[in-house]
């Protein structure tokens, strides 16, 4: 945990983890799970919409779409029998359909991707590769209007403790190069750019693509901040980066893409940083769908009642409510915290210390915003106090002196304000 420095006259500089700053770590291979769990966004499909049923068999590398007419699906990373389909709720009330697959001992590879990979097209990306490690959103990236002109491949990592993209630039340069070539050929994007932290510049240049460097400081690593600082095009409120013609993909996803096409197999492994209770880190590679408890067991990390397990980085990750939660395509890190390390939120009033206002990269009036949001004035917050300018970095909560869960309030406010607006539009 990065503590407040003794002298704090300027706002904090949070340096993202660097791979050379980490102690020599070997990649720990997590054994394939006995039961793999796959989460698909969206509520449980009705019986007549279900495309997969309990007892069905799936093969490794097969794309499974649980519901008819819904694009969301998953690539099975094990061969086995579907043992359960149920409904679950994620953070901020996001509904998920969870599909459990009991794995056999031997993998049997499905060849549907291999066949498509021989003559790849744009639809291969959209249909098949949305679930590669890094969870790239090819759909909105490549089919958007206006078309994306510049595609930024992120060799930097967004969150503080995450290092997967940096490892890709460092260790998987060949796959990254292949992925970028495939991407350029198929997408027709005019400019492909590799963005890396300054210390990886030389290695990145060896790949032979256009390279840009940046200081790996949080939250400058977030796409909206890159738009502002690198492209000098702040994303207007209510728009996405793609609307300005710039798309972002993680180096991990592009390298997985390259590997997928060269090997003819859909990628099933996910690399992640596991941060143990004592702060030390382990690099691990597990199949997507492996329950977190299996990962922790393989690494001999014990959790007890009241501990916290986070899927993702320290600033933007999601909580795992139980050990059954699976490793997903975007689980870049697993952060394990002892219950004594958890700094609880409080229900105190804002004291107006101004730390959040100083630290906010979007220059939002967070001190006023929190007063509005605490009183459920979501619409007013969106209208008068720039609620939708938020880049979702979480720094406001990180520095809050009275430990108000400001970031949570902001996310709730955004969700509620959007819901109110869409309800109003529906009734207009």
């Amino acid at each position: 945990m990065i503590k407040r420095p003794f002298f704090a006259i300027t706002k904090p500089k949070l340096r993202c983890a660097r791979i050379w700053a980490l102690p020599k770590e070997t990649l720990v291979e997590i054994p394939p799970p006995k039961t793999a769990v796959f989460l698909v966004k969206g509520p449980l499909p009705k019986a007549d919409e279900l495309m997969v049923r309990v007892g069905d068999r799936v093969r490794t590398g097969r794309k499974v779409l649980p519901a008819k007419d819904r694009g969301e699906g998953f690539i099975s990373t094990v061969t086995g029998r579907v043992s359960g389909i149920s409904f679950c709720t994620g953070t901020m009330g996001q509904p998920y359909t969870s599909v459990c697959v009991e794995a056999d001992d031997q993998d049997q590879w499905d060849d549907s991707f291999g066949l498509q990979a021989k003559e790849p097209s744009l639809s291969t990306f959209v249909d098949f590769l949305g679930d590669v490690p890094g969870a790239p959103d090819f759909g909105s990236l490549l089919k958007g209007s206006p078309a994306v002109e510049t595609l930024v491949v992120l060799g930097t990592d967004e969150d503080l403790v995450v290092t997967k993209n940096q490892f890709v630039v460092h260790e998987e340069a060949e796959a990254l190069k292949q992925g970028m070539e495939v991407l350029k050929k198929l997408s027709g994007v005019s400019r492909l750019l590799l963005l890396v932290p300054d210390y990886l510049k030389e290695e990145a240049e060896k790949i032979g693509v256009e390279v840009n460097v940046m200081k790996p400081l949080y939250p400058d690593t977030l796409p909206k901040m890159i738009m502002k600082n690198l492209f000098r095009k702040p994303v207007p409120v209510g728009k996405k980066c793609e609307d300005l013609g710039v798309g972002f993909l993680s180096a991990e996803a592009v390298a997985a893409l390259g590997k997928a096409f060269s090997e003819g197999k859909a990628p099933i492994h996910k690399r992640m940083t596991v941060i143990q209770k004592d702060g030390s880190t382990v690099q691990a590679r597990a199949r997507i769908g492996t329950p977190v408890k299996d990962v922790l067991k393989a690494l001999n990390i014990e959790t007890h009642h009241g501990d916290r397990v986070v899927l993702g980085g320290a600033m933007t990750g999601r909580p795992a409510f139980s050990g059954e939660a699976p490793v997903e395509a975007d689980t870049d890190a697993i952060l394990v915290q002892d219950r004594t390390q958890i700094i609880p939120s409080s229900d105190s009033h804002c004291v107006n210390c101004g730390e959040c206002v100083r630290v906010c990269p979007a220059k939002m009036p967070v001190n006023l915003l929190i007063r509005y949001l605490e009183n459920s004035l979501f619409e007013e917050a969106a209208q008068d106090l720039d609620l939708f300018s938020c880049v979702e970095c979480g720094l406001c909560s990180y520095v809050c002196m009275v430990r108000i869960p400001i970031f949570q309030y902001i996310m709730l406010g955004k969700q509620e304000a959007a819901r109110i607006r869409s309800a109003e539009e529906a009734h207009a």
Partner: protein, 318 residues
């Protein structure tokens, strides 16, 4: 089910920089100590009595108000102790016990809790109490009367009062070094300029107070005093005298920086600080009160919500 292992689920972020409101209070108290210790050394045991009573009374009132308002006990955050400390620092060492009890009651009740407690007060609680005493009881805050029985090695009249009555010639009796080193009468914790400056620099470097407020206040005050002095040197004392006399330094580092009643955006902070500095000199030189710090800061406390509307454009707004 109850024996099942459950994990704590909460929203991001999962790290915190570790600072809490208790740290802020503790460091503010630490930063004020040099000035308080010097005051106790200078004015003797009565000063210690005033400080001890003020801090403890403020905490007792806080506890009572916690109970009355049916809120959880908030003594641990140190805010009440901080208010008691700053209030005590402004009192003369000879202040009678009931003044301390009454003052802290006003500070904690009227200054803080009727608005909802920590963070909700529109005015600085310690200043509300001092202003109430100044207006309600003539003579209590008169430092000439308070130290009548003391025998000092330095000029005993209250410098600001002397200048107000006899013009800048009276200021010549006070050396600037003397004022800096605490050779003046005044509140227990307000006379030792150097101690207050050191405390203020410490808080600024730690990022616990907003330096823009303190510096703009001092710049505003010095500039206004300089202009007055330039316009009529025979009537108005110089800026450095005003910088070191009275509550100025306490105001700059411990009063104007109170979180809840001051703005947070850059331009408002500078306007707020400079405005309060100018207003302090206006009250001292033109107004009816001896020291302008109390009412100048209170006045700008009221202007704070309006000033803080001037804010930078948020990301993605045209």
């Amino acid at each position: 089910m109850l024996s099942q292992k459950l994990l704590v689920g909460s929203h991001a972020p999962y790290w915190h920089n570790g600072i809490g409101i208790r740290d802020k209070s503790a460091h503010t108290i630490l930063a004020a100590l040099p000035a308080v210790v010097m005051g106790i050394y200078q004015f003797g045991v009565p000063a210690l009595g005033v400080m001890a009573l003020s801090i403890s009374c403020a905490m007792v009132w806080e506890l009572i108000l916690n109970r009355v308002m049916k809120r959880s006990v908030t003594l641990g955050d140190g805010d009440a102790a901080g208010i008691g400390l700053v209030f005590g620092m402004m009192l003369p060492a000879t202040a009678p016990w009931w003044v301390v009890v009454l003052g802290t009651a006003v500070a904690i009740t009227v200054g803080k809790w009727i608005y909802g407690g920590l963070g909700c007060n529109p005015l600085n609680p310690a200043l509300v109490a001092i202003a109430t005493l100044i207006i309600s009881y003539k003579g209590i805050m008169d430092f000439d009367l308070a130290y009548l029985n003391y025998d000092f090695s330095f000029p005993a009249p209250d410098p600001l009062k002397a200048v107000k009555a006899f013009g800048p010639d009276a200021a010549a009796r006070y050396s600037l070094t003397g004022l800096l080193m605490g050779q003046q009468v005044g509140g227990v914790g307000t006379v030792f300029g150097l101690g207050l400056i050191l405390g203020g620099l410490y808080l600024m470097a730690r990022g616990l107070i907003r330096w823009e407020l303190s510096l703009s206040y001092l710049v505003g005050l010095v500039a206004a005093a300089y202009i007055f002095n330039l316009s009529n040197p025979e009537k108005y004392a110089g800026p450095w005298f005003h910088l070191l006399a009275g509550y100025t330094l306490l105001g700059a580092f411990f009063l104007i920086t109170e979180y809840s009643s001051s703005p947070v955006n850059p331009i408002p902070m500078i306007l707020y600080g400079a405005g309060a500095g100018v207003m302090t000199i206006l009250i001292r030189n033109v107004g009816g009160f001896t020291d302008g710090v109390v009412f100048a800061i209170l006045l700008f406390n009221v202007a704070n919500p309006l000033l803080d509307r001037i804010r930078p454009r948020a990301l993605g707004r045209s």
